[in-house]
């Protein structure tokens, strides 16, 4: 015996330290060429995605891990940044057909896009597995369908306890997860209002986490209602203050979906030239999110907020 104690082994927790930075700083620091990127859908991290597109000279290849995306992943796909997407859905919802996605899959424009199909719950359970440090999760969706037939990464086994068939989905642990939420403090305790989809799982599954928020608040404010904290600080690497940071999508209780903008964007996405013109104007033509908001118009954004508050305000029933 040498009487040397076992060295201290540290956990993966991110420190309770100051994490606020700009979108540009966060994307520069954490997202690199070849990144396996996870994205939330509810709320959609538009401000962060726009910044990735602005840095496309540096970030040329991404593979995406999503559940469903409505338009936002197409901003990356149309900008010639994405080689592969692991997904359940990439379409327009009420905006309809996603021509950017179709062009990439059907014609390889602007580059060929490999798609790995799952169901929504299948995708969510991939993040759930990673969130608990597991390598797979059993799920009873997808059984009997062609999702399993054509996706060799989903395995059907006989449950060792019941003998019944069950599908196993492999864990998905993105290099970086990006998401948009309601509010956070400076050390990265993140709170959500309303529905948040799989944002909780994505933050826990990802190696690095960038969260954009509508508001930065004090830690004392976080402590008032700690059950609103969907992501505690130890998962979070960067907090980006981005008011209206999900536009043209919604941010619960702050503002609703700007359908007129979304439909117009999808109309432009009908051709590659149309998409490029849209991206040139709204993404490359603005140096940061504040400039994007000015271009869309803060009057318009504030009207979306007022309109949302007519129907509901957090903490009140109307």
């Amino acid at each position: 015996m040498k009487f040397e104690p076992i060295p201290i082994r540290k956990g993966k927790a991110k420190p309770p330290a100051y994490k606020i930075m700009t979108a540009k700083e966060a994307i520069t620091q954490f997202i690199h060429d070849g990144c396996y990127l996870g994205m939330s859908v509810s709320a959609a991290p538009a401000a962060l995605i726009w910044e990735i597109v602005r840095q496309r000279d540096r970030i040329k290849n991404l593979s995406l891990s999503i559940t469903s995306q409505i338009g936002m992943s197409s901003a990356l796909i149309g900008s010639d940044l994405v080689n592969k997407v692991e997904m359940a859905y990439n379409w327009g919802g009420i905006e309809g057909e996603d021509k950017v996605f179709r062009r990439a899959v059907e014609k390889g424009i602007p580059r060929p896009l490999e798609v790995e199909d799952y169901s929504n719950y299948g995708c969510a359970m991939r993040w759930e597995a990673a969130s608990m440090g597991l390598d797979f999760m059993p799920v009873k969706s997808q059984l009997g369908s062609d999702i399993i037939k054509y996706n060799p990464r989903i395995k059907v086994i006989d449950d060792p306890y019941t003998g019944k068939p069950v599908a196993l989905v492999p864990a998905s642990s993105p290099d970086v997860g990006i998401m948009h939420c309601a509010r956070a403090d400076e050390i990265g305790n993140v709170q959500c209002y309303g529905l948040y989809g799989n944002t909780d799982l994505l933050a826990r599954a990802s190696k690095k986490v960038i969260v954009s928020v509508e508001e930065i608040v004090t830690t004392a404010e976080i402590r008032r209602m700690p059950n609103l904290t969907v992501i505690p600080y130890y998962y979070v690497d960067a907090v980006v203050h981005a008011p209206f940071g999900a536009h043209w999508r919604e941010s619960n209780y702050y503002y609703h979906h700007d359908l007129a903008y979304g439909l117009d964007a999808y109309r432009q996405f009908a051709t590659k030239e149309g998409f490029d013109a849209w991206a040139d104007k709204y993404i490359h033509g603005t140096k940061d999110w504040d400039e994007y908001c000015k271009l869309v118009g803060y009057d318009r954004l504030n009207r979306l907020r007022l309109s949302e508050s007519k129907y509901q305000k957090f903490g009140e029933v109307r």
Partner: protein
């Protein structure tokens, strides 16, 4: 007796027919698109105690404006619960959901649905949205309500891709595959209403929409369609159902060409979105919601 509307469109008839498939008191998982509209109609007319589950983590909302998507802020409105997708998807897999409402691009006689693409996967001629939550709903909801366009090409013998399982290849197939839900119960299309035979699990025509000819329906379906001996005409929408639809969607985003009308027209969108507040609030009160 409900008063029927005299003036209504085909999409309105479809949405009303789907709404009627939802019973008061039920808990139903509602998928993206037209099903959201149909569910909202049900909630504000005959089924105020029906509660919808929405994919991105909402239970029991009663939105008084156009529901735009399953991850939409609208789904928080007057909800019982909002939070994670894990909650609603887990509850569904655990058997808590009475019905799920979805749509698809192609269907076969067992109610299997394709929403992934046309052509030979993965080299698809037309890539579509993908499953989203449709596969999960089709897998695990106690019964599935399907709504879709019937365009003469999409009721096929063999799907290009089975995205969402129906009765697969017939009796016993779902159980053998390990699926927990009951599978397709009804299909509402632009031409009629179909159900599934308990013995053969095959689709049959139950109702035909006013003005549609049986021969046209048969011609638009690739297999030899079974027709109920008690074939009846589809019930028209009620005045109240049509009123709700036109209040929520006056520009016909779901029920017509409203997408083209609204694209880029912020003022028209905001007017539509805000004008439904008072009529829907009054209706909500009158239903004791």
């Amino acid at each position: 007796m409900a008063e029927y509307a005299k003036d209504y469109s085909l999409p309105e008839l479809m949405a009303a027919s789907v709404a009627r498939e939802i019973n008061d008191g039920e808990l139903c998982f509602i998928g993206v698109g037209m099903p959201l509209m149909a569910a909202t109609i049900a909630k504000f007319t005959h089924a105020p105690n029906f509660n919808m589950m929405v994919e991105y983590g909402a239970v029991g909302p009663s939105p008084r404006r156009l529901p735009m998507c399953v991850d939409c802020a609208v789904n928080n409105e007057r909800a019982y619960y909002t939070g994670s997708q894990r909650e609603v998807m887990g509850a569904q897999q655990n058997g808590y959901v009475d019905a799920g409402c979805i749509s698809g691009a192609q269907i076969d006689k067992y109610g299997n649905l394709n929403s992934t693409g046309i052509g030979e996967y993965p080299n698809l001629r037309v890539r579509l949205a993908g499953s989203g939550g449709a596969n999960d709903i089709a897998s695990s909801a106690s019964r599935t309500i399907i709504m879709m366009r019937q365009d003469g090409r999409n009721f096929v013998n063999k799907l290009d891709y089975i995205t969402s399982p129906g009765h697969l290849d017939g009796p016993g197939a779902r159980e053998k595959a390990g699926l927990v839900g009951g599978g397709p119960h009804v299909v509402v299309t632009t031409m009629g209403v179909y159900r599934f035979d308990n013995e053969t699990r095959e689709m049959y025509l139950e109702k035909i929409h006013p003005g549609v000819k049986l021969e046209d329906i048969k011609r638009s379906i690739q297999w030899d369609l079974a027709v109920s001996p008690n074939l009846i005409e589809t019930e028209p929408p009620t005045v109240e159902q049509v009123m709700v639809m036109r209040t929520l969607d006056p520009l016909k985003v779901y029920l017509g060409n409203g997408r083209e009308v609204l694209a880029g027209d912020f003022e028209a969108f905001m007017k539509m979105f805000e004008d439904s507040y008072w009529p829907m609030t009054e209706l909500m009160k009158s239903k004791g919601m």
